[in-house]
């Protein structure tokens, strides 16, 4: 009986921790992209569009994690926008983020119709992921690239913006 109680408490605790983790993944929409595009702050935002099912995306996550770790004391924010299916947010995206111990900011694109937001990221964005947007509002800087990237490339783009 005592054992059973313990098991129940442990299960509850695991459930609670997962719930707290779940809260860490903010849902964003097309207005969020507009706000990011129009922000005037001197923070450099590195925004990557990815999904757990996308192999080249998953392969380049370490570059973004390294970028975060290297520049965390400077005005650089690395945001990973998950484009997964909504029904896989709890079952796949959150466990993935936990397992990989991702420290970058992970948000979830909560728009059922991609045609409503892809053009707001960049007109050149065809919807193929991975894709990366880098913005620095105070210097009116904007960089967009569709396809895989490298750590060196990311660093090359952000370095002039942070000094």
């Amino acid at each position: 009986m005592k054992m059973k109680k313990k098991a129940v408490i442990i299960t509850l605790l695991i459930g609670l921790s997962q719930y707290l983790w779940a809260q860490k993944i903010e849902l964003v929409n097309r207005d969020w992209i507009t706000q990011m595009s129009q922000n005037k702050s001197d923070t450099t935002y590195v925004i990557n569009f990815w999904a757990t099912w996308c192999k080249p995306c998953v392969e380049e996550i370490p570059h973004f994690e390294k970028l975060y770790a290297t520049y965390k004391n400077q005005k650089v924010k690395v945001i990973m926008v998950s484009c997964d299916f909504k029904k896989q947010l709890e079952t796949r995206v959150i466990p993935f983020v936990q397992n990989k111990k991702m420290e970058t900011i992970v948000v979830f694109m909560n728009e059922p119709n991609p045609n409503n937001w892809i053009d707001k990221v960049d007109e050149k964005f065809t919807g193929a992921i991975p894709a990366t947007l880098i913005i620095n509002g105070s210097s009116n800087f904007r960089y967009f690239s569709e396809g895989e990237t490298t750590y060196e490339r990311l660093e090359q783009v952000i370095k002039p913006l942070i000094n």
Binding site: F49, A51, W53, C54, K55, P56, C83, F85, K86, K87, P112, N113, P114, N115, I118, D119, F125, T126, G127, A128, I129, P130, E146, G147, E148
Partner: protein, 204 residues
């Protein structure tokens, strides 16, 4: 004077068209496409010219492994069932490099097409030349063509509908709307749309 002007104009136009090829951005709506000859899952070579009775085509760049292609697989089959008899068959093309995506090899295409009973041609763009000429970037990526005096003109480029995840929540069937407009000889309301998809796995 007039002659000089004309030759200058010709030179400028030639330079402009050279630029266009250099950019290699692929087809735009209104362009006439060149035909291709690609290997089908039954081993036979297929060209658009083989479809004598077609009024046009639903060309879909797709593949085996991509979850978005899988999410749309049944809808692509349904499109063919509904529109092939009306003159617009589906022609599916897999452009992925088998080294980068082994699931998309020709052998696996044959297996998938048999398993899912594809009623349409499923062609292998092994050199990736056709995907490049079209300007396809992701799977699935649709190009609707209409046959005008023996030439195939691009009428639409984009997504199949506005909800990849939930077929029941679709509010706009982009491809069907285009086909219905073409069949009714009415203007097409939306000629370009975008969707999230898997990047084409280009050879490295």
């Amino acid at each position: 004077m007039n002659k000089l002007f004309l030759s200058l104009l010709a030179a400028i136009l030639m330079m402009a068209s050279a630029f266009k090829t250099a950019e290699n951005e692929g087809y735009k709506v209104g362009d006439v496409v060149t035909d291709f000859t690609l290997k089908n899952i039954d081993g036979k070579m297929v060209s658009l010219a083989n479809y004598k009775k077609a009024k046009g085509f639903i060309v879909v760049f797709t593949c085996n492994h991509c979850p978005f292609s899988q999410a749309y697989e049944q809808r692509i089959i349904d499109l063919h069932q509904k529109y092939a008899a009306k003159g617009y068959p589906v022609v599916a093309i897999n452009p992925n490099d088998k080294n980068r995506s082994p699931e998309d090899s020709y052998e696996n295409m044959v297996i998938r097409a048999k398993d899912k009973k594809y009623p349409f041609a499923y062609l292998y763009d092994e050199s990736q030349a056709i995907a490049k000429i079209y300007g396809a970037t992701r799977t699935p990526h649709v190009f609707i063509l209409s046959k005008i005096k023996g030439k195939n003109k691009v009428e639409y480029i984009g997504a199949i509908d506005d909800n990849s995840e939930e077929p029941k929540d679709v509010t706009e069937k982009y491809v069907e709307n285009v086909l219905n407009a073409l069949l009714a000889k009415k203007p097409i309301a939306k000629t370009n749309t975008k969707a999230i998809g898997c990047t084409i796995k280009w050879k490295k």
